[in-house]
Amino acid sequence: MSQKRILLCAGTGCISSGALKARDALIEELNKRNMANDFLIVGSGCHGFCEQGPIFIVYPEETFYCGVQPEDAAELVEEHLVNGRIVDRLLFKDPISGVRVRNHREIGFYAKQMRKVLGNCGVIDPENIDEYISAKGYEGLKKALLMEKTAIIEEVKSSGLRGRGGAGFSTGMKWDFTYKAKGEKKYIVCNADEGDPGAFMDRSVLEGDPHAVIEGMLIAAYAINADEGYVYVRAEYPLAISRLRIAIKQALEYGFLGENILGSGFSFDLKIKEGAGAFVCGEETALLASIEGERGMPRPRPPFPANSGLWGKPTCLNNVETLANVPLILREGAQAYAAIGTERSKGTKVFALTGKINNTGLAEVPMGMTMREIIFDIGGGVKDNREFKAVQIGGPSGGCLPAEQLDLPVDYDSLAVAGAIMGSGGLVVMDEKTCMVDLARFFLTFTQNESCGKCIPCREGTKRMLEILERITEGKGEEDDLDTLQDLAIAIKDSSLCGLGQTAPNPVLSTLRYFMDEYKEHILEGKCRAGSCTNLITYYVFADNCIGCGVCKKVCPVDAISGERKVLHEIDTALCIKCGACIEKCKFDAIKTR
């Protein structure tokens, strides 16, 4: 094939960074030079390295360009495509060594990853089923269709695959329960209602490799005798929905979906349900209620969905990442799969690295890698060379782990012991500028907002916890607030109806456990060491650093800053509203808080 291939990341991150505009400029440039037919420009799913978008990879040499803007198109075409010279300035620059890297495999962010589930993301065109097929797609299904159903379930069981959405229940067991449940009609539901703030791996998989999810569902459906399935996707993921639609259409055309799939006699009908904006619908019974057209309020378990789920029929629910693992297991065998990871946590896990970290993005690593490796080797360490303070893992249901837990191997069980959970795999890194009390308050605001209101502990209890945290961050905390918080947290954990309520206190419990000092400081000394609780801080100009440039004075919305040019400036604390505009603008780190 004479065509050269240029792959661009068409994930949500890169698109919002201008990937499509850059692509259009590139095409225009190629047209101008009558070269359009020589190059095949392919949009792929997310490469995971959102920080560096838009990302373009030029094949066959796999040159990895990042931050490509429309105005770079001419140079890229002239230099690389015509003259075969690499455009150095668009290469990734290692934040530590400062060296420019040509191939993404040499980038620390990718080097330590083990991209299995994300293997196709950023490589194939998610809107073209042929590319998926040529990447061994649907081979797992073909293999499964020749197997006994119980054998498939056994295979998944022995792979050790555990649910990637939250609690980490054995996927094979879940299938087995649904398989054994009495009932003619059964359903499989893919939970793509990824709602944890700070998590976007499911979105990336759906955007980058939708067929893997469909194939996983097909295998599950075949194994448990389901003939109908739903993918419940957040409406906030329009691109994922549209790629999934295309994928379903193509799978139907190729006979992977619909009646009598690949002549096996097995039929499967797959539908998409768009969520309508309720975090709690990530809880499986609430999700089912939502599919049924009801308020997304969790239902008591038992009965478990495996026995009585959608419209009272046995239903198996798995999340996106879990299902995307399934074709892999069938294709490569349970043994190969189980070789990765730790004793009780098998395979890989995709993490979303966010917060104060250099390389934000998605990283897939084998289970058991330490937090340190993930954050520093892959994530490139804390942004702006600040001190690592904590990492929040598992979203609003998870917990905050401090620096002393950095060597914790990341697997289901170790995390639970440390007071966090795997959750969907969001990792939010925090530096010393993040106030842990405020962070706990932030998460409580979230869960309280998203509480469905059904059960008393969650509805009323999270409200009271939030109010206490608000008082503490406002400097109005009282000493016994900490006991009250603790008691409430335990009662809510003990007695809430669903997972949302049962885990809502986790961010508070884990910050109380690891950052009690900060709480006490807020209450007893009226101090916020991170300088983020505005009621507890005052802004001042750090004389050593101020050169009197006047930028701060200009941006201050309330004219609280005074000072002549080239003379030390001053902040009138009575006027200051602590908006932070001056800090953001000052290039000399001359405005500080205390």
Binding site: G13, E194, F200, A276, A278
Partner: protein, 161 residues
């Protein structure tokens, strides 16, 4: 008392869009939420008459239709702007200054969260997480995502609409 069969012909409200939506969903199981999504798509919000019509035709109690409509953040019972600005309040955005972005938008549009401008052009909303945390802080205007925002960029972005 509930009047099961009102005479819709006499009502000045335009029932055509909701009628069309219901035709599309005829016989679909558990279709209430997709129906409401389509009704909102058609009217820009969920008008009371349309909901009542859905209730009667789908044989779902009106109270339940209302209960569902008020449960999900996506649904709106008041007319909204042509451009919905959703400001991400996710963790990543939070630690990267999401609140300031929100303030800047409030100032620029002179709106509170949940508010709609008088010309029905913009509605300002907060959203729990858009899932584009790598680009934090992030906003969405309809289906377009804007990331790595600073307060200065806000005016420029908004004025482009």
């Amino acid at each position: 008392m509930k009047e099961v069969l009102r005479c819709y012909a006499e009502d000045p409200f335009d029932y055509k869009p909701v009628e069309e939506v219901l035709v599309k969903f005829q016989g679909v199981k558990g279709a209430l939420i997709p129906i409401l999504q389509a009704v909102q798509e058609a009217y820009g919000y969920l008008p009371r008459q349309a909901l009542e019509y859905v209730s009667v035709k789908q044989k779902v109690p009106f109270s339940r239709v209302f209960g569902v409509a008020t449960f999900y953040a996506q649904f709106h019972l008041e007319p909204r702007g042509r451009y919905i600005i959703r400001v991400c309040q996710g963790t990543a955005c939070h630690v990267r200054g999401g609140a300031k972005i929100m303030q800047a938008l409030k100032d620029e549009l002179n709106l509170e969260v949940g508010g709609t401008s008088e010309d029905l052009k913009f509605t300002l909303e907060s959203v729990a997480c858009i899932g584009a945390c790598g680009l934090a802080p992030v906003i969405m205007i309809n289906n377009d995502t804007y990331g790595r925002l600073t307060t200065e960029k806000i005016a420029e972005i908004v004025r482009a609409y």
